[in-house]
């Protein structure tokens, strides 16, 4: 088969009514601008980390929103927080804040204060 430089993702299915959306809802409270996301993927397209590795910020926040939190903590550590995603977002989603909040929800840090 010819290599076109991309692959078709395996179909995934899960039951949204059984998903644990508590953290996802917390995230929407903390970053209200995320409600405006249309999932265009502009953030992932410009991502600095993606230029080096297969980190996909759109996939990360989309999966988070659906309550599928497995492995996201490790994935999020690849982000360098440079903020290009926030600048390109056509809907004005504060992605840096979104990422920091996802990190905090997944691995609560021992903040000094």
């Amino acid at each position: 088969m010819s290599n076109f430089g991309f692959t078709i993702k395996k179909t995934r299915s899960f039951n949204l009514s059984q998903a644990d959306l508590r953290m996802a809802n917390r995230l929407l409270e903390e970053v209200p601008s995320y409600r405006k996301c249309i999932g265009c993927g502009g953030c992932a397209a410009t991502c600095s980390a993606r230029q080096f590795t297969d980190f996909d910020i759109r996939k990360v926040h989309n999966t988070f929103r659906r309550g599928q939190y497995d492995k996201l903590a490790d994935e999020l550590r690849k982000c360098m927080l440079c903020g290009k995603c926030t600048l390109v977002c056509p809907r004005g989603v504060n992605l840096r804040s979104l990422i920091i909040n996802m990190r905090q929800l997944l691995t609560p840090s021992n903040e000094t204060f």
Partner: protein, 593 residues
Amino acid sequence: MANFHPFVVPFVLGTIGLFVICGYKYVRWIKQFDRKQQALIRKNMFSTKILPAIWEMFCECLLHLRISKKNWRLGYMHRSIAFGWFLLIVVGAIESRIGIKGPFHFWCAIFYRFFHHNIPANGTEMFFTQLMDLILLYVLSGIFLAMLKKIHSRILGMKRTTKHTIMDTTVKISLWAIFPLRLLSESVTARLYANGGFLTQSIGDLFSRPVAEFLELPLWSLYSIALCVFFLMMPFTRYMHIFTEVFLIYFRKLGLRDSVKMTGYTKYELSACSRCGMCIDRCPLYNTLDINDVQSVYLLRNLRNLEHHQDILAAGKNCLMCHQCAEDCPVNIDLMSIRRISRDKGDTDMADNYRYLDPVKGFNAIGRVAYFGGCMTQLTPTISESMKTIFDAAGVKYWHLDGDRAICCGRPLMQQGFNKQAADLRRKITELIGSCNATALVTSCPICYNTFKHEYNLTIPVYHHTEYIDSLIKSGKLSVKQSDTTFTFHDPCDLGRGCGIYDQPRAVLKAVGQLKKVSAEKENSVCCGMNLGNTVLSLEQQTKLRDASLKVLTEPNPDVVVTACPMCKKAFRHGTEVNVKDIAEVVAEEIKK
């Protein structure tokens, strides 16, 4: 017991309490210094660095020259209270040493007139009596201004004063009471014994003798109690800055700086804050968005008391880190570092997160200049293209380090308190730059520039492109023609206040066109609102900040608003009809072919 009266007891207790509490606190904080800070103290404790430290203590703690430079009325107010009180103590001590008969106790200096009833006998005594009255008048003028400032702060050139806690207000009232009480008690005694100077004698003569006799003891007692209240509350309130600033100046001169964590040095800084509120006046969040509870003065207060944890976190987050307050702080507290300390996320994320950067290998760039555009320049490719045009025109061999793949310099992580991860990134970039053997590093992004300059230990010189273009023009390598286009220049926060680069961009712009002055420039330039330091502002709020900044920049009707930061350029571009360009683009257009 001679030269003693029960009314001095509150004063004596207050003084002893003050020194015990302050001494305990200072020793505890010194124990909390980290290793590096302790080593610096041991190394420099008795070096010649003490002399400039003493000079700065005199200029700042007593004369308040830095405040005076920014606002002379405020400077006069602080100087009259601090230096005046200092003189009252010193001159009073000398005067009482000369005049007191019998055993001398330290309270005799403070309550001298009460214990020394003789009419000034000779010239020396007369001189001291009049001098003490003059100094008292000087202090009172400062207290009067302080009261005026509370009623209407604009008289003293401040938009608003700090909202103080009840403790702070109580201790302030006791401070304000001390000097009028001293005046009244000395006046009453002067009425009875005719031992006053021009001020106390004339006020004392207004009283009738029985009234004076009746008031004398209560007034002296009140004076003593006011001193006691002030001294005992001082270590727990903002007036702790009076002594702490002295120590802070000493430690700073020894070379101590903030670490990424809270250390004893930070505790000294927190207590050296007098809560004067000068950080509020020019904060863009206050001026444009009316947010008035996140400014450094409030953050420092909450950090010092270590209460209101949620407030600390919330106030810590909501800051542009535009360096304006750090620029305005009369005590030169490193407010940006403290802001970062308040955001410290701890060490939970210890793993090396950026393993994917490992295969990044530099390219052999011997004899070339490494050009680091930075992440944001990837989104404004005209800037990097213009830089390449300039490099080519000047005959400089360059290597675009992050042309297709950009590594972040680590500043955004650092600003959000992910210090461990930021250090990881710094290590990767240092390796990358070290492996390429370039002669110098030129960056287009002030954010990266500030980081390279202050957080990295690179072996090659680092330039921001404004500096580099300026040196190219001055050395004659790059010849540009001067056009009639008029410019206004926006000083990016990290380049101006962050690194002190103000003259180079102006020199460049004057070489290629006509530069117009704007009302708030250089260290007062208004942040574009997009600073990476803030993650909680909404898009609407950022837009308001941008408009406030643009209002200043477009006021003189320039043809082009010029900036030197890809972030500012992005922010301004859609906010105005006027053309917005980076300084590199402007220069690239005016190169002589």
